[in-house]
């Protein structure tokens, strides 16, 4: 079942597949890592206690830069490996991409600036920036995803739609879903990393957000197949249904686990990993849906690819470097492990 009629053993066929898997992995890592720190940002203003806010920030201060680097990696990989997709998606989604970047700038500097302010008002202003920036960036990421899934018009290898194609019900709903999911990741991360009052508040938030997220997963799952015939076929034709059928079952299993963990006050990690599980399932469901397109409905990963010489050159290094990166990133998390509270050593 080869849509391009290419030589199935040639590098031009398998390199894009390898890269599609690698790129999907990188995006997933980004979603997880930056997801919880954007989510933490969104919950920031919901927590009025200044001491608690400082603890929240302290749980991510040593790692947020690394989290954001995965996004830079995503951009660079797309540019080098799937340049046609890079050159189509970014102009097509020009406004949401730039709004997202603006939001990330504000939130990134707010992070550094807030604690250096002299007056309470100035600090409050940057706190709002931190929260608002996180919210807007999350919404835009969801909108970008939603627009991509609903399809981008291409003519002549170039984007041919309008500047506001993304302002449609499905993308906006995806924006809300992603923001809600990130907030859940943030809340469950804080359950893991903090204690006492703050943890109790976050358990409450996690409960509310879990329910909201379940509803949104269901809604998006029902909505997506209605967007394109090919998506519908993935859910109804044999044997593809085999891949997608276990997804809803697993989502429900995780939901049960999550609610139990939130109710019993003991387990601190399980909620975070349940939330991760939901993300993983939604993400793979999405991947199965759009495969082998990178810009649905018309550009496949093969059409988007750079020549094999480029993909090979980058792959040669990636094979060694990616495991190394994962190893020292894990080490950095390890150094700053443990529960953070008012009395824990202020990092300096």
């Amino acid at each position: 079942m080869d849509p391009t009629g290419m030589d199935l053993t040639g590098a031009a066929y398998w390199l894009p597949i390898v890269w599609a898997v690698l790129a999907a992995t990188a995006i997933f890592i980004y979603v997880v890592l930056d997801g919880f720190d954007l989510g933490l940002g969104m919950l920031f203003l919901a927590e009025p206690d200044k001491k608690h806010r400082n603890i929240m920030v302290q749980t991510i201060a040593p790692v947020w830069d690394g989290n954001e680097t995965w996004m830079i990696f995503g951009g660079a990989a797309l540019y080098g490996v799937f340049p046609n997709a890079y050159a189509t998606i970014l102009p097509a989604l020009y406004l949401p991409v730039l709004i997202m970047l603006f939001a990330l700038i504000i939130r990134g500097v707010a992070f550094e600036f807030r604690s250096r302010m002299h007056t309470q008002q100035a600090q409050n202003l940057w706190d709002i920036g931190f929260c608002g920036g996180s919210l807007v960036a999350s919404l835009m990421q969801g909108i970008i995803l939603g627009t991509l899934v609903s399809g981008i018009r291409i003519e002549d290898n170039k984007f041919a739609g309008s500047s506001f194609d993304w302002l449609a019900p499905f993308p906006i709903f995806c924006g809300l879903a992603v923001a809600c999911g990130y907030a859940l990741l943030g809340a469950t991360w804080l359950i893991w990393r903090t204690a006492s009052d703050l943890q109790t508040t976050m358990r409450k938030w996690a409960g509310i957000l879990s329910v909201a997220m379940l509803v949104m997963i269901a809604a998006v799952s029902a909505w997506t197949p209605a967007l394109h015939v090919t998506y519908m076929q993935h859910w109804t034709t044999w044997p593809r249904i085999l891949y997608v059928a276990p997804v809803p079952v697993a989502v429900i299993a995780l939901a049960i686990l999550m609610l139990q963990a939130l109710r019993g006050k003991t387990s601190r990690r399980i909620p975070f990993f349940c939330a991760l599980g939901w993300f993983f399932l939604s993400f793979s469901g999405l991947g199965i849906n759009i495969w082998p397109y990178i810009v649905p409905p018309s550009m496949t990963i093969w059409q988007a690819s750079s020549p094999p010489a480029s993909q090979k050159f980058l792959l040669a290094g990636t094979v060694f470097l990616l495991p190394l990166i994962l190893a020292y990133t894990a080490y950095a998390y390890h150094v700053f492990r443990g529960t953070v509270n008012e009395h824990s050593e202020s990092y300096h």
Partner: protein, 482 residues
């Protein structure tokens, strides 16, 4: 809005955002190296003053680095938002280079930054020093990759052009990475970063020395040490930069002679050419007005011989000439500042011998005035390089006009306006935080950055021990000073 306007806006936006970005990485490159040296000296000599200086500059580093990251994130998507056609064609070559930059540099910096900033008490001294060195190494690796990319756009090698699509297909990665202008640009840029930071450190030091003098008290040891270190750098790197710049210019003459013609404001190619100190290039009438020239110097500088032939703009068709009235001036500002900085460095050597390094008012005032000089020269250098290669994005092969994205001018204008507002806010806040930090005199048991409530608990303790331990009478109150 016409296509030409949209392209102009896209260029303006790109230039504005990259011009903003470059300042912070250059700052990080220089400062990270300085921090590694300070920590190394501390470990070796066990002198408190080096640790104090390390903490003092580490606080600035966390701000500068953060601003470098957020403005860099923008850059990595702007190739696609602003230059989609360029990305499609040159992506196969430049994309993998950027990919390697992320994997060999950005992750490395990010992975060890947390430990460098906050990990001193968690991992032990040796490992902490290792983290500092890794971050510094990361900034240098990052600089190398991005300059390789940029140099490839100036002097492309190792590619073939795919018929039909016009894509650049990589043929020889070694030739791509080590293209002819890369080594020159790398050295020149690295020196620029070191020199810029030397003058920041020197300027802050000079200010505290002047203040102590006015107050009639002794400056702290930390201030003297940092001023002295900065002046050593200026004395060494300043003259080196002139040599590196000269070599770079010769390389440009060889590979991009049209750029040299624009930089020099020369219209006719000739031997025994003068060097213009001043003039106003006029693209329309093909002449340069109000010339002030040194006879023969042009040939001498560019070809190292009196009779050497230098290129003129008239050698090139009108649609291949870079706007001389921009690069003529940016180039001269860079050179003038470079000379001034080198002279300051040499002057400091002389005063050092006389023993008045820390008290000579002329040196201190010059160093204070020249605080931003490195960054201004650096920006002027980039304007020269980038504007001078117009009207091409890939020199001689791909025109700027054929590089743009299909994005309407109105969208670009709107986002450009937002960028300007946002960057002005971010820049002024960042600078004022830095300045507030610099207003505090580095003192004994200096506090470093704090992830939670910076400098509250930590510097309360240090303020007490500071007043107890040394006769420090600094005006800033470290407890609230940050």
């Amino acid at each position: 809005m016409t296509g030409a306007d949209a392209i102009f806006l896209a260029r303006l936006q790109f230039a504005f955002t990259v011009g903003f970005h470059i300042v912070f990485p250059a700052f990080s490159i220089g400062l990270a190296a300085f921090l590694a040296v300070l920590e190394g000296l501390w470990l070796k000599t066990d002198k408190q003053v080096y640790l104090d200086l390390f903490h003092y500059w580490l606080r600035a580093f966390s701000i500068v680095f953060g601003m470098g990251v957020v403005s860099g994130l923008v850059m990595s998507y702007e190739f696609g938002t602003n230059w989609a056609q360029f990305s499609q064609k040159a992506g196969p070559i430049l994309g993998p280079l950027l990919g390697y930059e992320v994997m060999t540099a950005f992750f490395l910096e990010a992975g060890f930054l947390g430990i460098m900033l906050f990990g001193m008490n968690k991992v032990g001294k040796k490992l902490h020093f290792f983290a500092t060195c890794v971050v510094s190494l990361g900034t240098l690796i990052s600089m190398s990759w991005i300059l390789s990319s940029n140099s490839w756009m100036q002097t492309p090698r190792g590619y073939s052009i795919e018929p039909g699509t016009g894509r650049f297909i990589p043929q020889d990665w070694w030739a791509i990475v080590f293209n002819p202008s890369f080594p020159f640009r790398l050295v020149h840029m690295a020196l620029a970063a070191f020199l810029s930071v030397a003058f920041i450190v020197g300027g802050v030091g000079a200010w505290h020395l002047l203040r102590a003098r006015r107050a009639g008290r002794q400056p702290t040891e930390a201030v003297r040490v940092m001023f002295s270190m900065a002046m050593w750098m200026a004395a060494l790197v300043g003259p080196l930069q002139i040599l590196a710049g000269d070599a770079h210019g010769l390389n440009t003459l060889k590979y991009q002679p049209a750029k040299i013609a624009a930089m020099e404001g020369d219209w006719d190619s000739e031997g025994y050419a003068p060097e213009l100190l001043f003039g106003i290039p006029d693209m329309k009438n093909e002449t340069t007005h109000y010339k002030i020239a040194i006879p023969y110097a042009g040939s001498l500088i560019l070809t190292h011989s009196l009779s050497g032939k230098v290129p003129g703009l008239k050698d090139y068709p009108k649609d291949q000439r870079a706007p001389s009235y921009v690069v003529f001036f940016s180039f001269r500002i860079m050179i003038a500042l470079g000379m001034l900085m080198a002279a300051t460095g040499l002057f400091s050597l002389w005063l050092r011998r006389k023993g008045t390094l820390w008290s000579n008012p002329l040196l201190l005032r010059t160093a204070l005035i020249l605080t931003p000089a490195g960054f201004i020269a650096l920006l002027c250098g980039w304007v020269t390089t980038e504007v001078g290669r117009q009207p091409f994005t890939v020199y001689g092969l791909l025109r700027t006009a054929d590089s743009a994205s299909p994005v309407p001018g109105a969208s670009i204008a709107t986002t450009l306006a937002i960028f300007v507002v946002l960057y002005v806010i971010v820049f002024t806040s960042g600078i004022s935080i830095l300045l507030r930090g610099f207003a505090e005199e580095p003192h004994r048991d200096q506090a470093g950055p704090d992830a939670r409530q910076p400098q509250r608990a930590a510097s309360m303790a240090s303020a007490i021990s500071d007043t107890a331990a040394s006769g420090h009478t600094g005006s800033a109150n470290p407890g609230s000073g940050e």
